[in-house]
């Protein structure tokens, strides 16, 4: 281990924290890969929107949060929710429609939630959670706690009215909310250049008088540092922050999308900067891991994921009639008081 490498290690993060981030990114990528596999084998129904390539954004951000902090996510939310603390086995169970799934099979891929960990849920509508997020911030402020909330979304959502209303209200109310925009250059099949005219996202934040940052979304440490800064600001009552994290999704919009609108050159360029490769390499450079330890971590992740799949497959299928429950808290689906 050269002295040069050691000195590049981030000073405000411990070895354990960095290894945890690395592991979590591996967990996400492995989860997505297996999900794709089982989806293509028709064991998972519906749609899958996978976030492979963007792990650093999810993990970097969530690693700056406490368990009692909140996040909202998107249709491409597996990475976010696992980064915040969801266990793959229960997430797999949800995808497989089992009773042991986080949402008992009622939500599916696009709506995974775990309220006990502050995960307010992924949503199938682009920008769907954006108007909701300022309400979370408002609630924190009203209850006078020092929690914060992170709202994940992509570049595609920034064209929706809800994004602008949320930004305006967050700024007006000065709430502890952090907007984390994973700009993966594509909204559905539209490239970012065709979505906004010569716009750099942080400029949008400026129009709402909001603090902002732009980071390399393929660098988990950079993301983490930016979010930690924003969290600190928020906890102190300094109001919201907008963070653009430039990243890339390797696979199409959804499983089945060939992604032919994504030029080969561009894909190569981004994959060369892969976030997991990057942190894996740097951990070794910093002397925090050895190649053997690196392998060990990967094998461990694989084992956890395999066990998770097993668990999901063994879990009982949710009863068809359970579709009728939990529409309301106080009444059954026919309107009778519970």
């Amino acid at each position: 281990m050269s002295k040069k490498s050691q000195s590049s290690a981030p000073k405000d993060l411990t070895r354990e924290q960095l290894i945890a981030m690395f592991r979590r990114m591996l967990l996400i990528r492995g989860f997505e890969a297996r999900a794709k596999q089982y989806f293509e084998a028709r064991e998972i129904a519906g749609f899958l929107h996978l976030s492979v390539g963007q792990e650093a954004v999810s993990v970097g951000a969530c690693s700056a949060l406490r368990k009692d902090d909140y996040i909202t996510s998107t249709h491409r939310g597996h990475g976010d929710v696992i980064a915040k603390g969801c266990e793959p086995k229960f997430a797999f169970a949800e995808l497989f429609g089992r009773t042991t799934g986080y949402c008992k099979g009622k939500g599916g891929s696009m709506h995974i939630a775990d309220f006990s960990q502050g995960i307010i849920g992924a949503t199938g509508i682009v920008s769907g959670a954006l108007p909701t997020a300022p309400g979370i911030g408002l609630s924190i402020k009203m209850r006078k706690t020092d929690q914060v909330a992170v709202c994940f979304f992509g570049d595609g959502a920034t064209a929706e009215g809800g994004f602008h209303e949320a930004m305006n209200l967050a700024s007006l109310w000065q709430i502890p909310l952090i907007f984390v925009c994973a700009n993966n250059l594509y909204g559905l099949t539209q490239p970012w250049s065709k979505t906004a005219y010569q716009c750099e996202l942080p400029r949008r934040a400026a129009t709402y008088n909001m603090a902002s940052a732009c980071v390399d979304g393929m660098d988990v440490v950079a993301v983490n540092q930016a979010v930690r800064e924003a969290v600190a600001r928020a906890r102190k009552g300094g109001g919201p922050t907008f963070i653009e994290a430039k990243t890339y999704r390797y696979w199409g919009h959804y499983v089945g999308d060939p992604g032919t609108y994504m030029p080969e050159e561009e894909q190569k360029e981004w994959r060369a900067r892969d976030a997991i490769d990057s942190i894996s390499r740097r951990l070794q450079e910093w002397g925090y891991t050895t190649p053997e330890e690196d392998q060990h971590i990967r094998a461990d992740v694989d084992a956890e994921l395999d066990a998770g799949i097993e668990f999901a497959k063994q879990s009982p299928l949710a009863e068809p009639e359970s579709a009728l429950t939990d529409v309301y808290s106080e009444f059954d689906v026919w309107g009778n008081p519970l």
């Binding site: 909140y70 799934g101 986080y102 949402c103 008992k104 099979g105 009622k106 939500g107 599916g108 709506h111 939630a113 775990d114 309220f115 006990s116 307010i120 849920g121 949503t123 199938g124 509508i125 769907g128 959670a129 954006l130 108007p131 909701t132 997020a133 300022p134 309400g135 979370i136 911030g137 408002l138 609630s139 924190i140 009203m142 209850r143 009215g161 809800g162 209303e165 949320a166 305006n168 209200l169 007006l172 429950t325 939990d326 529409v327 309301y328 808290s329 106080e330 009444f331 689906v333 026919w334 309107g335 009778n336 008081p337």
Partner: protein, 328 residues
């Protein structure tokens, strides 16, 4: 018993619940003093509770309805004030896909204890964008509860319940009811959801009416009584949960049903009710079931056109007469 106006009754309900539970707050456009709401329902509340609990917002329905949902998901109990139900389109995604569905999609982990107070209805020549009756929108979204009070007594009791329930409630008032006076007890009371109110008894025909149309139905009842026709006026008060039992009991007694509402006929609450009666009270129905609703048009501007469209006591009495005489 003292008589107060519908809007005073609503204000009392809000004040009492704001006092009772510090998690309750109001959010809306122009709701704080000195304006106090488009129909003055919230006048006087912001001096008492402060602008941090009576939150006045920019014109940003999607964002503010969304914010109420977010707050409701994380421990608060918001009461949103949507000035006109016609603006519901601005907030539709949050209403349709978020508030209604988060509990379900999360497998029961979440609850959304929010009230969306709004008002609709014709009669002020407010024209197409400020006079609609859109309760059918909410009725058609599983996850929402729908209440439509017609009197000050019902308004206060139902609003208090709405605020205390842990599910999203669309609380739909009517712009022409705000200044109506009615008896309201001094003592605290609530009205449960899912309990209809028979506002007038009679043997000859059942008239189910909601919101402002209830008043017209009662006036028609007076007119008809002088002709020897006695109608039973049933006010469901909540469209979901719906008290079918009371309605079926009434149809069993009279054999004849007229559903009257101000919303447009096609796909309205009347259609839902008629279908249910046709199915659940089949053997008791002795004449074609009637709907009396606004024609399928946007609300018109000119006063005479509005009058043409509004379901009033004369139209109700006319239809009942035909029904009772066996002409239909």
């Amino acid at each position: 018993m003292r008589e107060i106006t519908y809007k005073e009754a609503l204000k009392e309900a809000l004040r009492e619940e704001l006092k009772r539970d510090e998690r309750v707050f109001l959010m809306g456009e122009d709701i704080a003093d000195p304006f106090g709401g488009a129909y003055k329902v919230t006048l006087g509340l912001s001096p008492e509770f402060g602008t941090e609990r009576i939150i006045q917002t920019p014109i940003s329905e999607l964002g503010t309805v969304g914010a109420c949902i977010g707050a409701a998901l994380t421990g608060m109990r918001p009461v949103f004030d949507m000035m006109y139900i016609d603006f519901v389109g601005m907030a539709m995604d949050q209403i349709l896909n978020q508030a209604a569905k988060i509990r379900y999609m999360s497998g029961g982990q979440a609850q959304v204890p929010m009230v969306l107070r709004t008002q609709g209805g014709m009669g002020r020549s407010s024209a197409a964008h400020h006079a609609q009756s859109l309760e059918a929108f909410f009725l058609h979204i599983p996850g929402w509860l729908v209440a439509m009070p017609s009197t000050p007594y019902d308004a206060k009791g139902l609003l208090k319940t709405a605020i205390r329930l842990n599910d999203p409630v669309a609380f739909i008032e009517h712009k022409l009811l705000y200044n109506n006076k009615g008896p309201v007890p001094e003592e605290e009371y609530t009205i449960p959801f899912g309990v209809a109110d028979v506002k007038r008894e009679g043997d000859d025909c059942t008239v189910v009416a909601i919101s402002k149309t209830v008043e017209f139905a009662l006036k028609a009842a007076d007119t008809l009584a002088q002709e020897g026709i006695h109608i039973e006026v049933v006010d469901p008060r909540t469209l979901f949960p719906l008290d079918m039992q009371t309605i079926i009991q009434s149809v069993k007694k009279t054999g004849k049903l007229l559903v009257a509402h101000e919303a447009v006929e096609r796909g309205g609450f009347g259609a839902e009710l008629v279908a249910r009666v046709a199915s659940e009270a089949f053997g008791y129905v002795d004449a074609p079931i009637q709907r009396l609703c606004a024609p399928n048009t946007p609300p018109p501007f000119a006063r005479q056109m509005e009058d043409f469209e509004i379901v009033n006591d004369v139209k109700i009495a006319d239809r009942v007469r035909k029904l009772v005489r066996g002409e239909l």
